[in-house]
Subunit: 345 residues, 2 copies
Amino acid sequence: MDLDDRKLKILQAIIKNYLETGEPVGSRTISKYTDLNLSSATIRNEMADLEELGYIVQPHTSAGRIPTDKGYRLYVDTMMQEKVDEVNNMRDDLLEKADRMENLLQQVAKMLAANTNYATMVTTPKYRSRKIKFIQLTDVDEYQVLAVIVLEGNIVKNRMFKSDIALVKEDVLKLNLALNTFLQGLDIEEINIGLVQKLKSQVGAYQELVSEILDAIATAIQEEGDIRVYTSGATNILKYPELSDMNKARDILSTLENKEELTQFVDNPDIQPDEKRGIQVYIGDETRVDSMKDCSVVTATYEIEEGIYGKVGIIGPKRMDYERVVGTLQNMMGQLDDIFKNKKP
Amino acid sequence: MDLDDRKLKILQAIIKNYLETGEPVGSRTISKYTDLNLSSATIRNEMADLEELGYIVQPHTSAGRIPTDKGYRLYVDTMMQEKVDEVNNMRDDLLEKADRMENLLQQVAKMLAANTNYATMVTTPKYRSRKIKFIQLTDVDEYQVLAVIVLEGNIVKNRMFKSDIALVKEDVLKLNLALNTFLQGLDIEEINIGLVQKLKSQVGAYQELVSEILDAIATAIQEEGDIRVYTSGATNILKYPELSDMNKARDILSTLENKEELTQFVDNPDIQPDEKRGIQVYIGDETRVDSMKDCSVVTATYEIEEGIYGKVGIIGPKRMDYERVVGTLQNMMGQLDDIFKNKKP
DNA sequence: TGTTAGCACTCTATAAAGTTGAGTGCTAAT
DNA sequence: ATTAGCACTCAACTTTATAGAGTGCTAACA
């Protein structure tokens, strides 16, 4: 027995219907609301076959059928016809409110959540190594100095330091110069003890301050390498009865609140032909997150420059409206591309 | 009929028991588990009185009693004996992980949530006006310039700008000087059109860049004035059956996710004698947040310097463990005080 | 006069039993 | 190969019964 055209059509009808209603779909429904013109009995026979093939199951003997993960997978891979979503003027809204990367990403999460009625996540882009572009020391007052650290890619960090000894303006300038000559263009791994010693030998009484600054630089680079995750619309999860079971809901919401587990969508082993903006669909267990075994996650990849990318994800029930979600995500990725391109005129 | 000592003791016993169990408390329970040595019948009589006085109610005829908001209020105001919570080594943990204000506050929210099993919120401190301490312009490359804006209180903001025309090093220096001479020490309201015109007349071809920078300064100051709210442990709400009703839970969680409504705890009209670190308890409707009518919120005030303060809040069911929460908060406020004091040696 | 034992009563929560209806699988006829 | 028809199943809902926690009231007691 194999999956002929009619079986495929019936399966599609079942899944479509289930996506809308969330209720098991019976043979009569399919018989009535498709143009196949088959009686419910025939549909029943076909359904029995589809069940044997593993695409659908009955929650219990006398109920209709619901799709299995395998069924959803087939649907997503071959039967879905993407809807292009009219997320009009999203870009304008985005630009208006967000002048900085972090805001932008948070805004993206928010808009997607509002648009889809699912929970959303956005990860910060993942950089490989980051080199130091330059450091600028400024004396704020007699005992305080501000260090602005600019990394490759124009990532700016600033830290305030307190010195135990009163600062002399010329010393600060000298320190600045010393730091830059030693550190400019270096990566974090390249800052070794020898270098630190050499640097310290040149700064006289300010050794302690320099230590602090070096630490700060290290953590700054480190933390820039960390992936952060923004989420939005977590409570949308509660709109879907099949996820509103108190325990499931708590687990999912915790996962969304804690965020750690979400980073695992970034490094995905299954690489995918790229014509679809890196859109990936994880169904149920495919998410590899235990609390999300009743969810699906759709992720898309945005790239801010060659090889530096992050993920945008939509988290909803398995019966989420995949077409719309994929459409919305593709649209959003387009908007983001525009923004990132426009940023370098 | 008035609230004599015995009634008070019984009320206290009822509330204590209800805080623990969350179940209506019957006369027999009180008769057995207090040292009053009264029969359940007597307790019943007293309970009837307490009900008439409005401190307790029956959810239905044949059930025990639960405290009303008025009952809780009396308890919190007069009967509670604060437990000092041993939040040991919290400070070390805090300092270790958080080198910056924002991180610190987020960390505070997280630790409190972990410690109390309730949801928590922390607001950023509320500044009055902020004056510009100095601005520092640095050319990053030929077309880009970095502006570091330092506000009074050592708040540092940085923005990157693109210039349409190639930047000349000396021009950037001049621009820097001009900006500082005009803007240093000024508040946002003091930057008027006349001043802007004068400034622009001195910067030759860079008028557009200056406009952008001024805009950025304005939004930087503005956004520093905005109160942000961090929350943590939102899902703890779901641990309490009386809040786990799907609709209540959704509403509460949304409120916590959206955060806007939470800022209203910052500006509190009821001022309070300060020996208790500004701890306030809002019971049910007192929160003035509709979705939280079944919750209580306990807030404490931290002050980073004279007049500049923010709030830390714990959100839980009405039957939250007020003693412990107040204790924990007082403790935490102590730790924060230490940290802020140590910051200026 | 305050306290208490005792009893009838109330009402929720839980369990048990009954009912309904959507949906199935199988068989026999087309 | 398709379909009408029928017996069967099972979750979901409704109804009825039962248990028990708790009350209010009364009358007796110290």
